[in-house]
């Protein structure tokens, strides 16, 4: 408990310092609970998520960093490795390939990388995975872009 708190506090300081360095990630800690974090990440360019801002919710377990944080998308996203309804993310480093050397910041980076390189062979969103697996990249792109416009972009006018 004490350890995870100390470590999260370190990360908090690091985030404050690096705020300007990485414009794609905005990591914010809950005002009252250091075990709850939210992040805003920008959709990577040259992907259907470009221009969108996606919100992530982090729930850090007590044994952190020995156990990975639980991360899910709060913003709806059409991606083969993200559950469409719950926002759950299928990413090895959040499950069996976790390492205590990862930080919340680096997890955000890994999620951005996952958005740019979906893994249709282990899908949480079957529709999206099937589109990619059947080679319909165009169909997938347009679906993903539509959901990005609908959910992840500030409404115009």
């Amino acid at each position: 408990m004490q350890q995870s708190r100390a470590r999260l506090f370190k990360e908090y300081k690091e985030v404050q310092r690096e705020k300007v360095a990485d414009p794609d990630i905005q990591l914010v800690c809950d005002d009252t609970n250091i075990f709850k974090w939210t992040a805003l990440i920008k959709g990577p360019s040259e992907t259907p998520y470009e221009g969108g801002v996606f919100q992530l919710a982090f729930a850090v377990p007590e044994p952190y960093p020995l156990q990975p944080p639980q991360v899910r998308f709060l913003t709806k996203i059409f991606h083969p490795n993200v559950h469409f309804k719950t926002g759950e993310i299928c990413l090895d480093i959040l499950k069996n390939a976790w390492s205590p050397a990862w930080t919340l910041q680096s997890v955000c980076r890994a999620i951005i990388a996952l958005m740019a390189h979906p893994e249709p062979d282990s899908p949480l969103n079957c529709d999206s995975g099937n589109l990619l697996r059947s080679g319909d990249v165009r169909g997938f792109n347009s679906m993903a872009r539509m959901y990005t416009r609908l959910a992840a972009m500030p409404k115009k006018g």
Binding site: A6, K10, P63, P65, Q67, K95, N96, S99, P100, A101
Partner: protein
């Protein structure tokens, strides 16, 4: 004889010994006013001494046999004359310089003030000032004692290196807790945990915690827990060290020293031949066979008693996971296997597998099993065999 000399204490008005005093309590007897230090050769008070600085002209107990002056050594002053030359003893230095100068230069000590850094007498110092040591910068190299010079140089360089390494180590952060390892609150935490296969820095507590943490969410023991959290290289044990290394040789030295130390400690699993050490001949700890123990009598480890009841393992994966748990649990998680060599690992893993088969009968796949100590030299040492599934099933009322 001594009764004829007036007691010093009596003269001052109070002698505790009273009439048993060996010195005279009669005012008529003369006092002994001869300086005993002067008799032995030096008196630091010099001309200001309140006792008489005369050559022993009359016999008295303490100076009866002493001759007048050093360096002619007498029975009463068995110490070499150089011992009396103390730095504060300025008078004597002047007096006895010629005596010391006569000795061979390599027998003279060097000025300890200069060796410590600063001699107030500088050029006028009657002692030899040592040469400057290139490492510590102090005048502590004896110009005439070659062996001593070399010894000092080697020791000094070693110390210097250690100090440098310690300074460098101060800066190093643990990648798990993100804190400086040597700035942790308690001394026990201020230790690095070195992984054998890579050079990433952790505190010993963090890396041991990680390696022994339970693989809850399907983490694989070999590819995740026992791998370096940063580069994922597999290391079989962690070596504690108070200092971080800067060269591969230093790391090797730290690891070798650690294993050397463990080799002198008796293995608690082996228990002098009465216990069963899961690491067999690969164990880091000492396996001493006590006369009369099981291993002494039968030349094999005692059989492991199968657990009377246990969880029902349903597949081989769980079994392997479980063995992984056993490997990574406790202190053996950190110093589990001797070699990173692949062959060695397989045999050791297999040994572990077989030794723990007794847990796995419940899945119904194994009818009988021979537990072999595969790591023994001939590979034939049988630990236990013919443990039947049916026995278990009866116990479990299935």
């Amino acid at each position: 004889m001594s009764k004829r000399i007036l007691c010093k204490f009596f003269a001052h008005g109070a002698c505790l010994k009273g009439e048993h005093c060996e010195f005279s309590h009669d005012w008529k007897d003369p006092t002994n006013n001869v300086c005993t230090y002067y008799q032995r050769g030096i008196c630091s008070y010099g001309s200001r001494c309140r006792y008489e600085h005369v050559k022993a002209s009359r016999p008295h107990p303490s100076a009866s046999s002493s001759s007048a002056l050093p360096p002619a050594e007498t029975d009463l002053s068995p110490l070499p004359s150089s011992c009396f030359k103390q730095a504060w003893d300025l008078d004597s230095l002047d007096t006895f310089n010629p005596a010391t100068a006569a000795a061979k230069p390599e027998e003279q000590p060097i000025c300890s003030y200069a060796a410590a850094g600063d001699c107030p007498r500088a050029d006028e110092c009657p002692h030899i000032h040592g040469n400057i040591c290139p490492t510590c910068g102090k005048r502590c190299l004896h110009p005439f004692r070659l062996e001593e010079r070399e010894e000092h140089k080697i020791a000094c360089e070693k110390k210097h290196k250690q100090l440098q390494a310690l300074t460098l180590s101060q800066e190093i952060e643990c990648c798990v807790c993100l804190e400086r390892v040597l700035s942790k609150p308690t001394p026990a935490e201020r230790k690095f945990g070195l992984l054998t296969e890579c050079d990433h820095a952790f505190c010993i507590g963090c890396i041991r915690n990680w390696r022994s943490s339970s693989p809850s969410t399907g983490m694989d023991v070999n590819s995740t827990l026992r791998a370096c959290p940063i580069c994922r290289k597999l290391s079989y044990f962690v070596v504690p060290s108070v200092i971080w290394f800067s060269a591969p040789e230093e790391k090797k030295e730290i690891i070798d020293n650690y294993r050397e130390k463990l080799r002198s400690i008796d293995c608690k699993h082996f228990n002098f031949g009465d216990g069963n050490c899961p690491f067999g001949t690969s164990c880091f700890y000492k396996h001493t066979v006590k006369p009369g123990s099981y291993a002494w009598k039968f030349h094999r480890p005692p059989p492991r008693r199968p657990r009377p009841s246990g969880s029902n393992f349903s597949d081989v994966d769980t079994l392997v996971n479980m063995i992984g748990n056993i490997i990574s649990e406790g202190e053996y998680g950190t110093i589990g296997f001797e070699d990173s060599d692949d062959d060695e690992l397989t045999t050791t893993d297999m040994m572990m597998l077989l030794m723990h088969m007794d847990h796995a009968y419940h899945d119904g796949r194994l009818e009988e099993v021979v537990l072999r100590h595969l790591d023994a030299e001939d590979g034939q040492t049988v630990i236990a065999k013919d443990i039947r599934l049916s026995d278990f099933l009866e116990d479990m009322h299935i």
